[in-house]
Homo-oligomer: 177 residues x 2
């Protein structure tokens, strides 16, 4: 156990933890973020909360792909409108999450410490992007709601969090509503 | 968001968090406990770490049950020996976990604060017992390794943590090795 003590002692002066919170448009992720801010993250300890929103990749079918496209075929206008809507949703979600961070930072953290907050918006499959970003951003912890990734994927409830539990390189904290 | 601020302010003076750590004889649970002690639990904040070991219920077949017993039939001596072994394993696991808590409390917590540690040993099906205890003990967080519950149930890897993720009334933190 001697090495253990040394390791423990060695970890004491570490800088704050990097806490990656996967946010989406669902209430579960808001609840998870709120829990994280009130119970885990500590501005005074130098923690950084990284808000990650992953928006789905826009459909890329064009008229030229028509023969290969098994699903729907969208005109450029529709594709552009969907992409615009997706960006607007991302902005709204991130803004709401940031406000929550500011609020908790002031009300809970108090005493001059303000929570460091970073915002990342990525595009792609939520499951793989979240795991990739957790690794890339050096997250010490990944926090998410149990439904994993919201509105667009209600039919696959839980699948994103299940995937991240199995594949993320850091510990994963699942917060249910 | 006014109520939010009040809620946030209201939570600030809360007493320390009650962190339930499911321990077993596997390395994963030791790793999860170590992570919890070094990264999450804070003696200075008044946190309490509750170590929970669930040992399997002893087989209860007797000669009188022979007609109903589909599985194995154990003599009383064998049953008693298995129960004794199970208790010895429980004692060893809990003792090791407690030593780890003491070590981290001294080395990391430092400055006069010592981590409050409670020990619970329960008997039954790990999945349901862990969820029940999380509720009964008022845990703010349940921490466990991804393999959930060790040695005896290697064949069901992950099933305990999966069950707890779905059924525990508090957030669940899964720490992989």
């Amino acid at each position: 156990m001697g090495g253990e003590a040394a390791a423990a002692a060695g970890r004491a002066p570490e800088p704050g933890r990097r806490i990656l919170v996967a946010v989406d448009e669902g209430d579960e992720s808001v609840h998870a973020l709120r829990w994280c801010l009130s119970t885990f993250a500590a501005a005074a300890r130098g923690d950084t909360v990284i808000l990650l929103y992953v928006r789905p990749a826009p459909p890329t079918y064009s008229v030229l792909d028509a023969s290969a496209a098994v699903g729907y075929l969208f005109s450029e206008e529709v594709t552009a409108a969907m992409d615009r809507y997706s960006r607007e949703v991302a902005d709204a979600v991130v803004e709401k999450a940031q406000k929550l961070c500011t609020l908790y930072s002031k009300e809970v953290g108090g005493s001059g410490h303000e929570m460091k907050v970073e915002v990342k918006v990525a595009v792609g499959d939520a499951r793989t992007v979240i795991c990739h970003m957790a690794d890339k951003l050096g997250a010490d912890l990944l926090v998410m709601g149990s439904h994993g990734y919201g509105f667009f994927k209600r039919a696959l409830l839980g699948s994103v969090s299940d995937y991240c539990l199995r594949n993320a390189s850091c510990p994963v904290l699942i917060v249910k509503s």
